[in-house]
């Protein structure tokens, strides 16, 4: 659908990337800005959450931002001359990524509860057991600590398992294995054993799932040394991150969100990955930097609609890499706008936002014109009642108010 224009200022960050798919298995001296630029990767419609398709009433005439989501296309890629790609839902994108990696490398296998015959509780592994067999898509008994440990043992001895937590919250039971073995074993063995494992699953606040099924484990895992954490938010980056995580030699925890599985998007046909350590520029802007990830991205984009109408020009960055933070993209943005708002779904205390605030203050304090604002969920067990649940997470109206406050 959309022909997409970028704001002039923002073009620099994206067009500097070479347009090849980046293979993270190669030497780490490859240029950091090598985004996964697929041809024809122009975003069209994202059906849930905010879409901007308006004529900007921005203060500066150069900015013609007709789509809230920045394009991944650089000068070489324009929709008409390249492959159109194909449309699918986020869970299908995850499945596609997983299937392609399993086709590519026989050592990739999946383990988890109901991943096989049932096809996964969110259908991410649908059809895979039929195709690859019961051993490659292993239905485990309900024993998170042990099957995660089993995945780690398998990773140490040569396989590349993808462990699914049916709900991220269940992985609390696997904390022993994730912290001690997944994170630390490479170090305590003096580098002898690698753990190329991917631990993934849906988390976050859903629709009245109750406190225990609505947990955000990224804040609990972030201190574990030796692991990487990424959060996907669109079909494009879901597939890209899944593939990158599987190919990575490090243990990676991939956070998905229960409410985002049915997002639809058109993604490229060809092979691509998304760099695990990079953040994603969603909407370039000038007035304020809004850092977010996962579902809150959509609340932010919805708020952005309102903000643009009110004359603000927010820059929205989906940080994607929760550990480590992409300080380059974030830093460049802070240096430009001088104001930061963090919007996250984690709890207020000890969440990703708290760490991000500290990191930005440490590194970019001189560039800030105002204190960093952080909007997080309340430190409350997520209530069942819909009205209460709505109030525990950050809503677009709060984001608008916060930006107005920041930009005063």
């Amino acid at each position: 659908m959309a022909a997409i224009f970028q704001g002039v200022g923002a073009a620099a960050t994206l067009s500097s990337s070479p347009s090849n798919s980046f293979d993270s298995n190669n030497s780490f001296l490859s240029p950091p800005r090598s985004f996964s630029v697929g041809k024809g990767a122009s975003f069209s419609v994202i059906r849930s959450g905010g879409i901007l398709n308006l004529n900007s009433k921005g203060r500066r005439a150069q900015q013609l931002i007709s789509n809230a989501v920045a394009t991944k296309a650089d000068s070489a890629a324009v929709s008409s001359s390249s492959k159109p790609g194909h449309e699918l839902l986020l869970f299908e994108a995850l499945q596609e990524g997983l299937e392609e990696e399993m086709d590519r490398d026989l050592r990739v296998c999946v383990m988890g509860e109901d991943v096989g015959h049932y096809g996964g509780s969110y259908k991410v592994t649908k059809g895979l057991a039929k195709k690859f067999g019961d051993l490659r898509v292993l239905d485990t008994p309900i024993a998170e600590n042990s099957f995660t440990g089993m995945g780690i043992g398998a990773a140490m001895t040569g396989l590349r398992p993808v462990v699914e937590g049916m709900n991220m919250g269940f992985l609390l039971l696997a904390f022993n294995q994730i912290s001690n073995n997944c994170g630390m074993l490479h170090y305590t063995s003096g580098g002898q054993f690698t753990i190329p494992i991917v631990i993934r699953g849906p988390g976050g606040v859903g629709r009245q799932l109750g406190a225990e099924h609505s947990q955000r484990l990224e804040s609990y895992f972030q201190s574990i040394p030796g692991i990487q954490m990424v959060a996907c938010s669109t079909p494009y980056n879901a597939k890209g991150l899944m593939k990158a995580a599987i190919r990575s030699e490090n243990p990676v925890i991939l956070f998905e969100h229960v409410l985002l599985y049915n997002l639809k998007e058109r993604i490229p046909d060809e092979d691509y990955i998304c760099n695990l350590e990079e953040a994603e520029m969603v909407r370039p802007g000038e007035h304020v930097t809004i850092l977010t990830y996962s579902r809150m991205r959509y609340h932010v984009m919805q708020a952005a609609k309102t903000l643009v109408n009110k004359g603000y020009d927010p820059e929205v960055i989906d940080i994607r890499s929760l550990k480590p933070f992409d300080l380059y993209t974030i830093g460049n943005s802070v240096k430009k706008t001088h104001r930061v708002l963090i919007v996250e779904e984690c709890m207020r205390t000890g969440g990703i936002g708290a760490s991000l605030t500290a990191a930005i203050t440490e590194n970019f304090n001189d560039y800030l014109d105002a204190p960093i604002m952080c909007l997080s969920s309340q430190d409350v067990p997520t209530p069942y009642a819909g009205t209460l649940e709505e109030v525990t997470v950050v809503q677009p109206a709060q984001i608008v108010t916060a930006v107005e406050q920041l930009c005063r």
Binding site: S24, F28, L29, P32, R33, L106, R107, C109, G133, L135, R136, P141, A143, N145, S146, F147, T148, G149, M150, G151, I152, G153, A154, M156, T157, G158, L159, N176, Q177, N180, L185, H186, Y187, T188, S189, G190, G191, Q192, F193, T194, I195, P225, G226, Q228, S248, E249, N250, L276, E277, E278, S321, K323, P324, F325, D326, Y328, T329, G331, N363, F364
Partner: protein, 428 residues
């Protein structure tokens, strides 16, 4: 019949709590037949012993096994080479651990050090039957497992001294012995934590055979752990999964009766651990862990069962640690009478006696081995002493297999490209 002298002593324990288990132990069980043999494990102790026993049935394992073997003329369970190999391995284990204690008290190593004295028969009995590609997973009491598996004494001692030439570059320590070359998958500090890892290694073996089509992959994994671990969830979860998928693994319980200061009998509703195997559909075997030949016989069968693809086995080895739980443990709770009973069943003395009495080797040959081992251990200490300590630059090296995991710094470059990283002075 091997070892009758050493093993018929089925000495009662004086723990009061045992009384409640009286009847239970006497009316023991014919446990599920060990791999199809119809021989029942029988009580071997004479009736004059009262019921205060550790476990009801024992030890007729060698009989069960023997029934399968065609009897050849000499009634010996091992050849001379095997005997000397076993002897050497056990003496190495003992001498090494004794040296560790000395070095600890001299301030060469620190932290928690758990010694294996007294339990050598289990390690030697099992691990000496393995190939290099078979895997071993241990606990924090892992020095001797490492040595038996083939990790050089020098590498283990350096690791204990925290030197960079240690098997884990000094980063693991006493409780985290790893060796990729020898397939020693650790060294784990929390109990039970290694069992799922062992299950995973066994899973890989099965996967290699069935998915990757490496048809002659028959690698077996041994998981060693103690009696305390047998009350932990991970143990049961893994017994279930291993039996469910018929993984090539052997679960070896080193039941030394004590989990630091907690007696096995005070913490376990049914202290007979081997009985828990049949509950999951695998054979459970109890063996005298102070007798290396008996352990070896059981191990042979359990390991070949796994190699043939018949699934896991649970082996409970009745053993004892002569020292405290760790070098920091004053070891005041254990009854000296109990200790002396087990010291009398020292596996090394017993094997030595067997070798000499069966004319497999002379006393002189055994003494030569003793001397050789002393030299090996001395050399290990010297090597460790002379090895360098890890330089600061080593700090950040093995945190990630792919150091891009440290992320992108404010200047746009990956942080691992920063020279401060290689110097180890960068802050992460």
């Amino acid at each position: 019949m091997a070892f009758s002298a050493a093993t018929a002593n089925f000495n009662p324990l004086n723990t009061p709590s045992l009384r409640s288990h009286d009847n239970h132990l006497v009316t023991s069980v014919s446990p599920s037949p060990f791999f199809g043999s119809t021989a029942k494990l029988r009580l071997s102790s004479s009736p004059k012993f009262n019921v205060h026993r550790r476990s009801g049935s024992v030890v007729a394992v060698s009989e069960a096994v023997k029934e399968k073997k065609p009897k050849s003329t000499p009634n010996l369970l091992i050849t001379k080479e095997e005997g000397l190999e076993l002897y050497e391995d056990m003496v190495l284990g003992r001498a090494f651990e004794d040296m560790c204690a000395q070095m600890y008290y001299r301030g060469k190593m620190f932290g928690f050090v758990h010694l294996y004295n007294g339990q050598e028969a289990v390690s030697t009995g099992f691990i000496k039957l393995l190939k290099q590609q078979d895997s071993v997973v241990s606990t924090y009491r892992d020095h001797v497992h490492a040595l038996s598996k083939g990790v050089p004494a020098r590498a283990v001692m350096s690791e204990l001294f925290g030197k960079t030439t240690g098997c884990c570059r000094g980063q693991g320590g006493s409780m985290h012995m790893f060796s990729r070359e020898h397939n020693l998958l650790g060294g784990f500090a929390f109990i039970g934590e290694g069992i799922p890892v062992a299950t995973g290694a066994a899973f890989t073996s099965k996967y290699k055979r069935e998915v990757l089509k490496e048809v002659d992959c028959d690698h077996v994994t041994l998981a060693f752990f103690g009696d305390g671990t047998c009350n932990n969830g991970q143990f049961y979860e893994c017994l279930n999964m291993a039996a469910l998928w018929k993984l090539p693994i052997v679960f070896v319980v080193e039941n030394n009766l004590w989990a630091i200061g907690m007696s096995h009998l005070r913490s376990t509703s049914d202290p007979q651990i081997y009985k828990k195997g049949p509950a999951f559909g695998m054979p459970g075997v109890h063996v005298d862990g102070m007798d290396v030949l008996k352990v070896r016989e059981v191990a042979k069968e359990a390991i070949s069962r796994a190699r043939r693809g018949e699934g896991p086995t649970l082996v409970e080895c009745e053993t004892y640690r002569f020292r405290g739980h760790s070098l920091a443990d004053p070891d005041e709770l254990r009854d000296p009478a109990e200790k002396s009973r087990y010291t009398a069943r020292d596996p090394i003395t017993a094997l030595k006696k067997y070798i000499i009495e069966s004319n497999l080797a002379s006393e002189a040959e055994l003494k030569a081995i003793d001397k050789k081992i002393d030299e090996v251990v001395e050399d290990a200490v010297e090597f460790a002493d002379e090895s360098p300590v890890p330089p600061r630059s080593q700090l950040l090296e093995n945190v990630f297999a792919d150091p891009k995991g440290f992320g992108i710094g404010p200047d746009g470059r990956y942080r691992c490209e920063d020279p401060k990283f290689t110097q180890g002075t960068a802050h992460v």
